[in-house]
């Protein structure tokens, strides 16, 4: 007996209620607070801020809580909120050489002005589960090395003194930095838009692409010139005042990947650069981003385009995880009208096929019945 599918609204409401129930889980376990998420799941919060392009730890924590820890869902929540915010201006470019550094390492020099600072890193931890963390035990205060005050030059500047590395590059005076979230994307794109897309691109996708370049799919001979993590000041030029005012500080991770370059018809032999910059502390993302950024400069530097990581349209069209998850997951929406059309065609073609078989073999009736 056919029962029309009615009551979609009630089903949706009940589903939402059940979701809220499951999100909260066992009521005898205390609810996790936003402060706890911000303080104790900080790297997850940083990833959400980065890929949502919104620097607000508390809102990112709220998104993570609401999403039950599903990172892409949390990124989506924060992005959807970001879209509704008015733009009151564009900040001055941040100056990472003025960063209050918490971690800074270079793989290309043993020592360098400003020094190497390990900072809070997993790098040399032994990955042994720590039973002490099963309870809320005392944890010693951290000891931070005295960071040198003042400007810490970037490795790229040190190499630039010798003229062996490409410069930061100059933009024409009338160049207006694009805004990926306010203008339609068009290919081929300028590097500013491309870097914006990479900065909000999916960490896993960029990681895999960066990895592919290391394994020979567009190898770039990379060295980690420098990774630095710390607080930088964000300045906004206020036209009425005529000078820039500070909006506060944000934590960022910057990676400068230095890559060997033999030269081409377009450029002399020198070191070239790949650049990564993300909110919060996320070396993996910043490093992957810088590898992919460098690979995507193939056209600009006159290199052969032979691998996926060099293909701008392929990389940028598929790097956004909110878009990707939407289109992949939309397959669960009803498609029965189109499926009906396909059913009809396949049945018709199948009937013709059976007919032909019958003609050829003289007796195909049994197989037809079996197929039905």
């Amino acid at each position: 007996m056919y029962v029309a599918v009615k009551g979609g609204e009630k089903a949706i409401n009940n589903a939402h209620r059940l979701l809220a129930d499951r999100r909260r889980g066992d009521r005898s376990v205390p609810a996790v607070s936003l402060e706890q998420i911000v303080e104790q799941l900080a790297l997850g919060v940083d990833r959400i801020m980065s890929e949502a392009s919104l620097y607000d730890r508390e809102l990112a924590a709220l998104a993570m809580k609401q999403a039950r820890g599903d990172m892409i869902e949390a990124i989506f929540l924060l992005r959807a909120y970001r879209t509704t915010l008015p733009r009151f201006g564009y900040s001055e470019p941040i100056d990472t050489s003025e960063m209050r550094i918490e971690r800074r390492i270079s793989a290309t020099y043993k020592d360098l002005p400003g020094g190497q600072l390990l900072g809070p890193t997993f790098d040399y931890t032994h990955r042994l589960l720590d039973p002490d963390l099963m309870t809320d035990g005392e944890v010693d205060e951290g000891i931070a090395a005295e960071a040198e005050t003042g400007r810490t030059p970037r490795v790229s500047e040190i190499l630039a003194n010798e003229g062996l590395i490409e410069s930061d590059g100059e933009l024409p005076d009338d160049h207006r930095t694009g805004d990926l979230t306010r203008e339609p994307m068009e290919f081929p794109m300028e590097r500013d838009i491309r870097l914006q897309a990479l900065a909000r691109g999916d960490e896993g996708f960029l990681l895999a692409l960066g990895y592919s370049t290391q394994r020979g799919y567009a190898r770039t001979h990379p060295f980690t010139g420098e990774i630095r993590i710390g607080e930088v000041e964000v300045l906004l030029e206020v036209p009425e005042l005529g000078f820039a005012v500070s909006l506060g500080e944000i934590q960022v991770t910057e990676c400068q990947m230095v890559t060997q370059f033999k030269g081409s018809a377009k450029s002399p032999p020198q070191f070239t650069r790949g650049y990564g910059l993300v909110f919060g502390q996320s070396e993996r993302k910043a490093m992957a981003m810088s590898l992919v950024d460098r690979a995507l400069r193939a056209e600009e530097l006159g290199e052969d385009i032979v691998a996926p990581a060099q293909d701008e349209e392929f990389v940028i069209s598929h790097s956004d995880n909110v878009q990707a998850t939407g289109f992949v997951e939309h397959l669960k929406l009803p498609h029965y009208v189109d499926f009906q059309a396909e059913l009809d065609l396949v049945r018709r073609m199948r009937a013709e096929y059976e007919e032909n078989q019958k003609k050829q073999e003289g007796n195909g009736g049994d197989t037809l019945e079996a197929a039905e």
């Binding site: 979609g8 509704t84 339609p184 349209e313 289109f327 189109d338």
Partner: protein, 297 residues
């Protein structure tokens, strides 16, 4: 924390801010001026996922006024979950009147179907579009397909259709069947079954297509020529069903196949639920109408 309380009053009418609506309306106007041409627009993140109709929702939000009457269908039905959800969204953010009756609606947002009832002057049909580029599965690069459109280079599409015939004896495209608009642009009609293609031709209604994830809007103004691609010896044909709707007895409409049991029992009913209900109210009965639940109007 700077987030406002989740009071919908803090959002603008129909959710989008007026600047965004203006940007989208400009894209719509351009699309109307160049029928079938895909206009890039700065698609916004909407509070529903990409793939759920964010393009259609943005178009609807940009054209909706307080006096409009909105109908939302998915698979031809007003009561599929996503249609219910989108309708509820606009009731909430625009407090707009809604209907399930095709005739009473001024704006109809749809996914995968065109209503059976002929649309009239003053009505707007908004399609949700997943992949706006009809050439996408033949050439994945946007840089290439834009060139092909600019040069009116549609040979690849004809070769594809020809190869279908050579291999299968049929054009093996049953939905999202490509059309040519006013003799110029080849256009994707969105994944509607090809059954619906003829309804686009010379329609009195304005037809708008929104692709959110792909950031494209295109349009068919009223009275636009829309021709499904075909060959002289293999003319375009729509699907035909062997039986009428089991509930309302309608013929020449698109039907859903409903599985009744695990022994091969099935029935065919109208995909357009409003059309079916209206016919039954008028007293039409199909062979299995007695078994259907009582109508609730």
């Amino acid at each position: 924390m700077t987030i406002q309380q989740t009071d919908m009053a803090t959002y603008n009418f129909a959710y989008l801010d007026e600047q965004t609506k203006r940007m989208i309306r400009r894209a719509i106007l351009k699309a109307i001026a160049i029928p079938g041409y895909q206009v890039p627009f700065a698609s916004r993140e909407m509070p529903m996922p990409y793939g759920w109709g964010t393009g259609g929702v943005q178009v609807t939000a940009s054209i909706l006024g307080p006096d409009d009457v909105l109908k939302v269908i998915d698979q031809g039905a007003d009561d599929t979950t996503n249609a219910v959800s989108i309708r509820a969204f606009f009731q909430r953010v625009a407090n707009v009147a809604v209907t399930t009756h095709t005739k009473d609606a001024t704006v109809i947002q749809t996914r995968h179907r065109i209503p059976e009832e002929t649309l009239g002057k003053g009505q707007v049909l908004v399609y949700q579009v997943p992949i706006p580029e009809p050439l996408r599965y033949l050439e994945p690069r946007e840089t290439e397909t834009r060139k092909m459109h600019a040069l009116e280079e549609y040979g690849l599409m004809h070769v594809k259709l020809y190869e279908d015939i050579a291999r299968n004896g049929h054009i093996a495209t049953t939905y999202a069947y490509p059309v040519k608009v006013e003799g110029r642009y080849v256009m994707d009609p969105s994944p509607t079954p090809k059954f619906d293609n003829p309804k686009m031709h010379m329609s009195e209604a304005l037809q708008l297509f929104g692709a959110g994830r792909e950031k494209r809007i295109y349009a068919l103004p009223p009275h636009t020529e829309v021709v499904s691609l075909d060959f002289e010896d293999h003319p375009f044909e729509v699907q035909k069903f062997d039986q009428p709707c089991a509930l309302c007895g309608a013929e020449g409409v698109y039907l859903d196949e409903v599985i009744l049991d695990d022994k091969g029992g099935r029935m065919f009913v109208c995909s357009d639920t409003d059309h079916c209900e209206k016919r039954r109210e008028e007293g039409h009965r199909g062979p299995l109408a007695a078994e259907a639940p009582e109508m609730q109007s």
